[in-house]
């Protein structure tokens, strides 16, 4: 962990820097991919920025709604609102923030007449880069930390040796990024939206597998079910379902004549 970096009289909050770096590089990546796919890079940048702002605003609104009692002293009602919006602590910030971001992204894409599926492909590698930034931010801040372990690959955090969940997440995000780069080398060779499908499946699978190694994984009530695994499995099934929807009704082998 290195949450604060002291440089002379200046104190830098490294998790925030890692997050900002990931977002900026991700946007830059998306802009370049957009240009390769015939979309104005500036539009991509603007869409990305507005989406991030909408996500942050939506997440903040979610936090206020869930914790309304702290602001308005309406505890019984606000506890009910909190219970509806937040099946497990902190999840309201994530899913309402994500919905806000998605809503604004779709609205702007339609308004600016940008092809949605091509946009998804342009953003996919950038989202993987953002995920790397998020993983690094967690590593620096100590969040998303693993269960205690005596395994040799454990990392020292505080007084305990723990599963390197943050490192696993970063490595997985890096692998996803390179897979997307390789698959997206020739945009014309893939159906629009293909990279988005791969990103959804890969990221969901990663979260589904890494989450049980987390010590601070939020659970639903007393069920013990990890909420992020449920979300990840939903994403994974949805991603695979899109492959099913786009697949031909019956598999056919191309003959040499058809290939030429």
């Amino acid at each position: 962990m290195l949450p604060l970096l002291q440089i002379g009289p200046f104190t830098l909050r490294t998790p925030g820097l890692a997050l900002l770096g990931g977002l900026w590089l991700g946007l830059e990546m998306a802009s370049r991919e957009g240009v390769r796919r015939g979309i104005d890079g500036d539009r991509i940048y603007a869409l990305g920025l507005y989406t991030i702002l909408a996500g942050a605003a939506g997440a903040r609104l979610a936090f206020v709604l869930v914790n309304l009692g702290m602001y308005l002293h309406l505890s019984p009602w606000t506890q009910a609102i909190g219970a509806i919006l937040a099946p497990a602590g902190g999840t309201e910030i994530a899913w309402i923030g994500a919905l806000s971001a998605l809503g604004v992204a779709v609205f702007l894409a339609r308004r600016w007449k940008l092809p949605l599926l091509v946009l998804v492909d342009a953003f996919a590698p950038g989202i993987a880069v953002c995920a790397i930034g998020i993983g690094l931010a967690n590593l620096l801040s100590g969040d998303y930390y693993g269960v205690e372990t005596s395994a040799p690959w454990g990392i020292e955090m505080g007084a305990a040796r723990r599963q390197p969940t943050q490192v696993l997440f970063v490595l997985t995000a890096i692998a996803i990024f390179f897979i997307l780069r390789r698959l997206g080398r020739d945009p014309a060779a893939r159906d629009p939206g293909f990279l988005g499908q791969v990103l959804l499946v890969a990221l969901s699978l990663a979260i589904l597998l890494i989450e049980p190694l987390r010590e601070d994984s939020p659970v639903v009530g007393t069920s013990g079910i990890r909420i992020w695994q449920v979300i990840a499995l939903s994403g994974l099934v949805a991603g695979l379902a899109t492959f099913a929807l786009r697949a031909p009704a019956a598999a056919t082998a191309a003959t040499p004549e058809e290939k030429t």
Binding site: S75, V237, F243, A244
Partner: protein, 184 residues
């Protein structure tokens, strides 16, 4: 030549993944013992026992967090150079006065000279206990990334909440009420 799965092939894959994924979630769910705060390791996360510590108080004696068991504790990490900390101190003092013996506001000053802290406390009229974390060991234990950071600890010594930024009176009052409510 390798054929891509047909639609029915993808449907089969999807159903199998859903089934195995559901089984995986069930197998890896948090067990009852682990969900019990008493079975969890001390950690500055919600639902975990708050890590214990002993620090010298501004009054000269030593104070341990475990000494305060049985009452809700508002554990506030701060520094004199922190503007938002200065803003929230009147609210913390008022909450301490209102709570009386029913709750404790415990200020943890991080890495500052005791005389400077003493002068600051006198200037702002702070009467709640302040302990000195000279080496920032406790701040690191509680993963404090910025000031002010406040942990809400219930009478059983379990972390019930964490707040980053300056507190205000309604928020403090609400959280202390929640912490003081009898558990079911």
């Amino acid at each position: 030549m390798k054929l891509p799965p047909s639609r029915s092939g993808w449907i089969v894959i999807t159903v199998l993944v859903a089934a195995f994924g559901g089984a995986w979630i069930g197998l890896t769910r948090v067990q009852a013992g682990e969900a019990n705060p008493n079975g969890r390791p001390p950690s500055p996360n919600i639902g975990h026992p708050a890590p214990d510590f002993t620090l010298p108080a501004l009054s000269g004696e030593s104070l341990s967090l475990s000494d305060l068991r049985g009452r809700p504790v508002v554990l506030n990490f701060w520094a004199t150079w922190c503007g938002p900390c200065r803003v929230e101190i009147p609210a913390l003092e008022a909450a301490s006065q209102a709570a009386g013996s029913q709750g404790v506001i415990l200020g943890v000053n991080v890495q500052e000279d005791p005389e400077r802290v003493m002068a600051f406390a006198a200037e702002l009229g702070i009467t709640y206990p302040i302990v000195l974390d000279a080496s920032a060991e406790v701040a690191r234990l509680y993963r404090v990334n910025g000031f002010p950071t406040t942990y809400f600890i219930d009478p059983q010594g379990v972390v019930a909440g964490v707040f980053h930024g300056p507190l205000n009176a309604p928020l403090l009052e609400t959280r202390l009420m929640e912490l003081s409510a009898p558990t079911r």
